[in-house]
Symmetry: C2
């Protein structure tokens, strides 16, 4: 019997129940932060020697030099060739679709543009790829080859010059599927280091590890703290919280499908959050029954149960419209619209990392191979941030070329405002360009 | 006599000199961080009451309630109407050009897009504005009305629902040009609060100040520390360092113009950085002479002198190509190409916040009214970040609609990879959609 809470928007306790459900603290442990600051400073000061020491201590990998912690392109290729054929084909098919989607993304929003004004002034933006990026890939129990594809392929499509991957190999155990994914995704160099020391090596550079311009990819609390610390020195993607799914259901999707979709989020870890919103009480009962029936068949049932009981919920709403409004308040990472008319509800959904439309669009298809990125904003950050994409591996420079005629028009405006701000140098620089 | 250092790329000490020139530490004072953390926690706990207390203490403004710290739309309008006509017109002309540029930016890179795959699967991205943003505007000596335009107008063009501005008014002194700019830029609500307490109010919300989704705008060390602290809870723009200009000159621009452009950066503050790169030694001498001659005529000569002597440099390069390469290493905030053929050099310039092409394009025209944003990445962050723009006030959601046929194609791929990662729930969610 699973203790999965059920909320009712018509209940007087709903707001309090809802706040409690949403509560999750992103506060980092102060002890972790202090330890991370030490590691970062040490790697900045001592470089490779410090990285080697921390790798020996935390990953129990003894290496004489950083050369021993590099994986050659030949080894990546060998890992790919060692895969069972079905796995190799699936990896390539997924990579192909992810690449194609990000190429569309580049076309849609990643090109330089400019125009000339009536006075002949050129204005625009030049879009260029980052020179070099670092991708953090977790090792050990949560090693996800699909994340290698999702981080490396948009960087590749953006035209990043060099992609450096770091992946810890606790006790020296290398995951062939992860290395094969690096091969397929065209990662340029791989170092088997992890933790805050890997983030430090990428952010500051060492004799062996080149300094990168941006670091992306998920990691544990040490990695997250290190990324937040080096932010500004290098770019970073979002600091990820626990994964989340929210399913909006009108009752038309088979309950087993929805139950399994909720499981597929809950199985990540105990803090993952799975929520179902539906205006049909009978359907909620059917999904609950499906959960009870299917749970014992799941190898990861202990994690799923802990996640559903701790952070999951079935929510009875007054209507689909209200369900959409609650979804906006949550701003979920993954949002499934398990409804007969998904396009009727989609315009009402303002905040979500990814929106999965219709009964056939299980989140897991998007996680692996539909094409869009699976690195998505968590913990309500979809209110202001976006999926990882080609744009994360590009930056823009404004282009301005003022003609002589334009300078006559703009000079007096700039000078007036500059004098108003007490910045006479600005004003006079504009005035010097005026014809006498 | 100004002690402005000159570097020579052909000198054996160049690399060491160059490193010293670039050195600038962004480390925040630990005492400031501790104080800021207290203020943030206090405002989170006590809301308006805490904001009122800190405002009384730091800005010496006694208010009974937050209502006294709000400026009405009518007051903003009155501030605009009180301006001298030339100032009002300049403000409107600048706003009009900035708005037009950002409308072009929206067209170029801010629209939703989607496509259908051969198997009928819909893929794309929905681009939506943020619901509500906060704009921090410094008060006191460095109050820049132009920054109000540069922060609020892209938010407006993006379609942000509500724009909240905070601006401290030390001793109750309100800057009419700043308030007029808020009127012109269509800011929805203004609170006369500042410092870490204002950032906290925007990030957490109080009874009076609504919680926002993102906070942009420059501020002092307390504001910067507070923004970095609340990052994740809300979005933020970059943490800005001192302002910088780099001028690439081929010797064809009047030396007085270049000298004044260097001043226009140096006059911001003593830590601002002005660098001139040129392959022509005689021209460097002419610019140096112009600096000596013009400096005594500048009202802010003390700041300019301190900035140029402390962080400025004239750099003799072997060629324009080498000058471009050095510019890329610096990744300057503002980059002027004061050359006869600016489009010859522009393709070589990979990293810069804004590129000003040709002798007539003084940085100050771009700062106020050319159209592009003047909020630009500093401290080499142009390697990985971009000018403030419409895209900073939008976020994206992936759209995925897998057809029944698509699910048959994608399901086996997703399942293969999910089993490979040990995530059976993901695999079975995909398999449930397969026809038996």
């Amino acid at each position: 019997m699973i203790k999965l809470r059920q909320l009712d928007t018509a209940s007087s306790s709903f707001e309090a129940d809802f706040e409690q459900l949403r509560h999750w603290s992103a506060e980092t442990d102060a002890a972790i932060e202090g330890r991370v600051a030490e590691i970062l400073a040490d790697v900045q000061a001592r470089g490779d020697a410090a990285v080697l020491e921390y790798t020996a201590r935390f990953d129990r990998v003894q290496a004489q030099s950083m050369a021993d912690l590099q994986i050659s392109a030949a080894d990546l290729k060998a890992a790919f060739e060692s895969l069972p054929p079905a796995q190799a084909q699936a990896l390539q098919a997924a990579a192909e679709r992810v690449r194609r989607y990000h190429e569309r993304q580049l076309e849609a929003c990643g090109r330089s543009w400019s125009y000339r004004d009536e006075d002949g002034t050129l204005l625009g933006q030049k879009v260029t790829p980052l020179d070099r990026v670092g991708i953090y890939v977790p090792g050990g129990k949560a090693a996800y080859p699909s994340s290698v594809l999702m981080n490396a392929l948009p960087a590749h499509v953006a035209g990043v010059g060099e992609i450096i991957m770091v992946v810890p190999t606790p006790d020296g155990t290398r995951n062939p599927l992860v290395l094969a994914a690096a091969h397929v995704a065209g990662v340029h160099r791989v170092f088997t280091v992890g933790g805050a020391q890997a983030v430090a090596a990428l952010a500051y550079g060492t004799a062996t590890v080149p300094r990168v311009d941006k670091i992306t990819g998920p990691g544990n609390a040490y990695v997250a703290s290190a990324k937040k610390h080096v932010f500004g020195q290098v770019g970073i993607d979002m600091i990820a919280g626990p994964s989340e799914i929210l399913v909006l259901a009108d009752g038309s999707t088979p309950p087993d499908w929805v139950a399994m979709d909720l499981f597929s989020q809950a199985e990540h870890d105990e803090l993952a959050q799975s929520i179902l919103l539906c205006p049909d009480a009978a359907y909620l009962g059917e999904v609950r029954a499906a959960i009870e029936r299917l749970l014992p068949t799941m190898p990861r049932q202990a994690i799923i149960k802990a996640s559903l009981e701790g952070r999951g919920a079935l929510v009875l709403t007054r209507s689909m419209e209200e369900a959409c409004e609650i979804s906006n308040r949550i701003a979920p990472e993954h949002l499934e619209v398990a409804a007969a008319e998904p396009h009727r509800w989609e315009p009402l959904l303002r905040h979500a990392g990814a929106i999965f439309l219709g009964a056939y669009t299980s989140e897991s298809l998007g996680d692996y191979c539909a094409g869009p990125n699976h690195v998505l904003p968590t913990s309500s950050t979809a209110r202001f941030s976006s999926p990882l994409g080609v744009y994360d591996f590009q930056k823009r420079s404004s282009l301005i070329e003022v003609s002589e005629a334009g300078a006559q028009l703009l000079g007096p405006i700039a000078a007036e405002l500059a004098y108003g701000e007490g910045l006479q140098g600005h004003a006079r620089a504009a005035e010097l360009r005026l014809k006498r």
